[in-house]
Symmetry: C2
Subunit: 242 residues, 2 copies
């Protein structure tokens, strides 16, 4: 791997997850023109309806995507971490169909979308890796639809906690069973389609049963297998092993 200290190294790491990239391919990714910026906690990266001309890569921190529905309710669609190309979707689709917001203070790199597509089609391996990345994203959306549509509160919550553990672990950030998850209970509610009150009770219940401990923003999964079972969780939809 070329220069792990390079700004876009997290993005390269992520793309390499999906396809093998040659030395030149790797170099080309790292040389993508970009501009870095720090986004304050809670600030918007893209707003629903925007016509972004740049794609955004998360270099550090967390971000999430969400939609606001007619009655004022909000649905969080996915949570993103270091290395995620968090807004290829909106920029390639030309008009954003959802909001992207910083969950914590976050370092991001903006890349002109034309540079991204040019690279994708001049270097098929990179193009395939990017396409694959957006496909995995869609797979996660499918799992979330099933999660909020057909699982009860306890299962949903357990599922979400498992997903975060696996993805953070895969991104090389933490151990599977102990991680920092900077989401409030209200945000967890918006991610699971519940109310914050019920999220509270559900977390308490999981805690009482000895499956997971959550204090302030840290999560400690005490019984991974039991939690995964309770959460109807199978990593397959994350496509980590294909």
């Amino acid at each position: 791997m070329t220069s792990p200290n390079h700004t876009l190294a997290p993005m390269l790491r992520k793309l390499s997850r999906w396809c093998t990239l040659s030395e030149e391919d790797q170099q080309a990714v790292l040389e993508l023109p970009h501009e870095t910026r720090v986004i304050g906690k809670g600030n918007y990266i893209v707003r629903d309806g925007d016509k972004p001309t740049r794609s955004c890569v998360l270099l550090s921190g967390f971000a999430y995507r969400h939609k606001v529905v007619g009655n004022g309710g909000r649905q969080i669609l996915s949570v993103h971490m270091t290395g995620d190309v968090v807004d290829l979707q909106n920029s390639l689709l030309r008009t954003a169909d959802h909001d992207v917001q910083a969950l914590t203070e976050a370092e991001v790199a903006f890349i002109p979308v034309d540079a991204v597509t040019d690279l994708a089609f001049s270097r098929p391996s990179i193009g395939m890796a990017m396409w694959y990345d957006t496909l995995v994203d869609a797979s996660v959306h499918r799992e979330w639809t099933a999660n909020v549509g057909r699982r009860d509160a306890r299962t949903r919550m357990a599922h979400l906690l498992c997903e975060f553990g696996v993805r953070l672990h895969d991104a090389g950030l933490v151990s599977l069973c102990s991680y920092e998850m900077p989401m409030t209970q209200e945000q967890l509610a918006d991610a699971t389609g519940l109310t914050s009150v019920h999220v509270n009770r559900t977390l308490k219940s999981l805690d009482r049963d000895g499956l997971v401990q959550r204090s302030s923003r840290s999560v400690l999964i005490t019984e991974w297998d039991t939690l995964a079972k309770a959460g109807d969780f199978d990593t397959r939809y994350l496509h980590l092993a294909d």
Copy 2:
């Protein structure tokens, strides 16, 4: 447009929706190697866990994608119609993360996935159109997540009926407000995260209020604007106009 009678014409029509394709591009799409087949109503096109080597285009009829969760519940993730490349996702991701099933008897064309990717990267306009197609698919997933996560039964149902109307209309099949929708109430339930009993009551209620009439399998939207409003429906997520 080249030869509207060609087998793959519906796929070409769909791709042309997303990007302008040159005469040669169009020809190249139509000349994709393929094998057609008729899939009986209710038969599976792909099963969760399969490793498909061919992608599947719907030439006629309807299909839907779904997931089965731990407690036996089923969540329908999207419904597909003529021209939809119904399984680019599963074939490009190498392992299927959900089922694809024929809703009605359906004519399909199977295309080797290698032929698809070769074409995508040898002809960037086609590649971009295909990528775009999968991105729109993901956008629909996002809307569905919000639909089942944050809207009440009545709104969900109205939203679904509006989506079908717009998409069928866009595929050139029918008028916006009157179409055949061959789904049972149980399938509508699995698409909306409700039970069939409650779907029945919800449809009755929409009917009573004069918004929509549904007899056997036909849908007649009597008050489009009112239904769209009741369904918190905005076509933007379908990206038809970008």
